[in-house]
Symmetry: C2
Subunit: 492 residues, 2 copies
């Protein structure tokens, strides 16, 4: 038996033969959902417990030490946007699918925590919290298929970060299988624990390159009693930032979402999803304003009190010219219809054709300057380019996307202009203290930017941490860190 | 010139001769404020800029590589409780006092951030935020002298963690001098930035053992418009936990503090600070209830609306027997008087005599069981021991302290019983998923517990991280990690 055959046989002994998949037909694991990366796996293993994960990691580490250059790619719902969860083309990587580990281990109402396995789908966590009369606020477009393990490995963001933070801030503890195949477990749900280095936050956001997250304890919140969803039209981003400031002072933590969309992005929705684009019967052409805002308040207060307060503040903002128009949802159905407009933008972009995507963040105070400068430099470089700009203004995070001019071949346009456009966008963001990847991560897509746009001091510390926790390079080589972190003994 | 003399001469060249202190008279730097540890420093250096810090670290690293076993002890306000900021007795440690680096570099109102140097005193940061009409919520007893660098190095907690988190959650970015004497700076105040490993949270809480924090960007919040402070008496901890749950559902993020004190702790305040102990004219002997609670709400709402809501909820809780009595502060002065009772407990303990201190946390749901079990086991082991139990119930964090029986020599009692009492308390907490150090950290005091009560897997990862980022053992050896992390080449 060759080394690989012996390894696969042992893995079948660990996880059960039915859970070690090889040969053709593994497409669903080897390709990301946007079909941008397509690798070839040596096998897909679907362990059913943390003990099985530990055994399989331990066995693969041994194979690696014995000269078989195998490595592991953890995979959750496979909904990532940067290729961090699919194998490369070498056929030497084993996909570890956590899909079978999806139980809710514990929900503690008084401690406001839930402990779930990594393969638990985000929507199932939300539902479990809801069943207990509580609220798990992480919310993403892919919540019906993404898993908590992936959410934590990629430090997912979403539409309520303004109030509740990223996935990192929602995580109180982890269970992780280390590169030595050992289990590290801290799932007690403590709010305070100053006993050594913060290993938890090292694993969160590490994209499967330092350890394999198998379970997590997450914060829950009281379920809001009242919500208020409002659409507002304004003249520009400075007005939007001023409104954000006003609403924070008026509502503090009750302000849970503050999204912005430019007219061009709503124009695409109107073109491809006309039914969605006009969500409320009395919408008075707000989509033609330079910027539209989608604002959500959530509160423990009585709904009538929240609504009265919100309406008074917005009337005042309208009267003093802070916004051009406001349109409050008067039912849950109307609120959902407003959110559907926002959610339709990426779909409308896809329907319009290939486009250049950016996921930047800058300090909120620098957002207006960022858009002004980036727009101007791109307009000069690419006359007629369409700016499809939208995102989580409250977090300083914009999906600053570019669509080819009307009538221009999009594929050709991308091939010609994507690198140049990226450089402009990341230069402008970087010059304002911003980042080239706010919530999507690095994966395979942004390794070049990481190498180029972070200092040697920072990259050196990251490489040192990687070598310290994964000396064999067993976990997800080729993802995140630039340069020689493939399987095999680490460089000195 | 000897190696040490040459080193000190070079340090004088870097920071100025007036800022390199040697010889006698360094007591203030060599001893912690509780006078529990008293070391001897080779020198105290007071750098004035991050560039000076980088140069001095670099120079000391060279000395270390050349065989002079020097190491560095970063020191802020020297208010720590576990001996993490004072030198050992070897005379080979250099205290790096950040006291001269205390400027506020930037305050960004729209981004809700402030960037301060490490030596900035916590109260000065609070004041700078307040001057801008904003709020920096970290609040500790030592806020008049502790510094932000120390707060971050120890991941300080305090009385508003329930709403705003620990120091970790308030920090958006750091400037750090690495063990190689290089500067790593990420002070842009981004809410979202998924570009590599979370180095920030590795330095936060590392007690100066991985790098030297020289500046930080911190989150600010809108200044609350209304506060409501109330004292409540209840029969036991199960009632207190039920009240916490009710208040969270009613007030969500408006609940900023939830402190608990047992009758014995208030008895000590009454004995030693009788004026403080009866804060309100109409206090009806609430201090004799088994447990007293100090609850604080803070809100962006109109004060009248908050007060009416809070009074309605508390009336209902009182009517249904959830608490025995409530007493709301009707002015800022009264609110302060209520907080003074809580703050007087540690002072009253000190006045009463030496005592055995514990800073434990368990899941909130396990708090009643913890106190019941720990009390019972200690009463059996140490008849007559006095339980002075108080703390941040909302975070599951209790200062579970023990005072010798009345009339017993406290010093002798401690010498005889501290190790045994510690073992009981940490065993009971650990059995409930709790921790032996919730907010005070490890320092020199709790290294034994860390070695004993964390798994080999966890300690192994911590040691690997330490070796990766501080291979010479230059930063604060003897603090936090157990075993051979002194200066000199790292073990393989």
């Amino acid at each position: 038996m060759t080394g690989a055959a012996a390894l696969l046989s042992d893995l079948a002994g660990i996880a059960g033969a039915a859970n070690v998949l090889t040969g053709p037909g593994l497409e669903a694991y080897e390709r990301d959902w946007r079909k941008r990366w397509h690798g070839r796996a040596m096998a897909v293993v679907r362990p059913g417990s943390v003990a099985e994960v530990a055994s399989l990691v331990s066995r693969c580490a041994r194979a690696c030490r014995e000269g078989l250059p195998v490595s592991l790619v953890p995979q959750g719902g496979n909904t990532g946007l940067v290729g961090g969860g699919v194998p490369d083309e070498t056929g030497r990587q084993i996909v570890v699918s956590l899909a079978r580990m999806r139980s809710v281990r514990r929900l503690d109402v008084d401690n406001l925590t839930i402990t779930v396995e990594a393969g638990c789908v985000l929507q199932a966590v939300q539902a479990a919290a809801d069943d207990a009369g509580l609220h798990f606020p992480l919310s993403l477009a892919s919540e019906g298929s993404c898993t908590l393990g992936g959410n934590l490995a990629s430090n997912a963001g979403g539409t309520q970060v303004l109030r509740y933070g990223n996935a990192r801030e929602l995580c109180l503890g982890l269970e992780v299988v280390t590169a030595a195949g050992e289990i590290w477990q801290r799932l007690d749900g403590l709010r305070k624990d100053n006993t050594g280095y913060d290993l938890r936050d090292l694993f969160v956001g590490s994209e499967g390159t330092l350890g394999l997250i198998t379970a997590a304890t997450l914060r829950l919140f009281p379920r809001p009693r009242a919500r208020f969803t409002v659409w507002a039209a304004c003249a520009g981003l400075p007005e939007a930032v001023a409104l954000l400031r006003r609403l924070r002072a008026e509502f503090d933590a009750e302000l849970v979402g503050f999204e912005a969309m430019n007219a061009a992005s709503l124009g695409l929705v109107a073109r491809h999803f006309p039914d969605v684009a006009r969500p409320l019967p009395d919408a008075r052409g707000t989509a033609s304003a330079p910027w539209s805002l989608l604002i959500e308040l959530a509160s423990a207060r009585d709904p009538a009190a929240l609504h009265a307060h919100a309406e008074a503040v917005l009337s005042d903002v309208l009267a003093t010219g802070g916004v051009q128009d406001v349109l409050a949802a008067s039912s849950v159905a109307q609120a959902r219809a407003l959110w559907r407009v926002r959610e339709a933008i990426p779909l409308a972009q896809a329907a319009e054709g290939l486009n250049i995507k950016h996921d930047v963040a800058v300090p909120v105070s620098a957002l207006p300057g960022f858009v002004e400068m980036a727009d101007a430099r791109l307009d000069a470089m690419l006359p007629g380019v369409r700016h499809i700009t939208f995102g989580h203004l409250g977090d300083g995070n914009l999906h600053y996307n570019l669509q080819a001019p009307e009538g221009v071949d999009a594929a050709r346009y991308l091939a010609d202009h994507e690198p140049g456009a990226n450089a402009v966008v990341y230069d402008v963001a970087g010059g304002l203290g911003g980042t080239f990847s706010a919530e999507h991560g690095i994966g395979r897509l942004r390794r070049g930017e990481l190498a180029q746009r972070r200092t040697g001091v920072e990259l050196g510390m990251m490489r040192a941490v990687k070598r310290a926790l994964d000396p064999l390079g067993l976990f997800n080589p080729g993802v995140m860190l630039p340069g020689g972190d493939g399987p095999g003994p680490a460089p000195p």
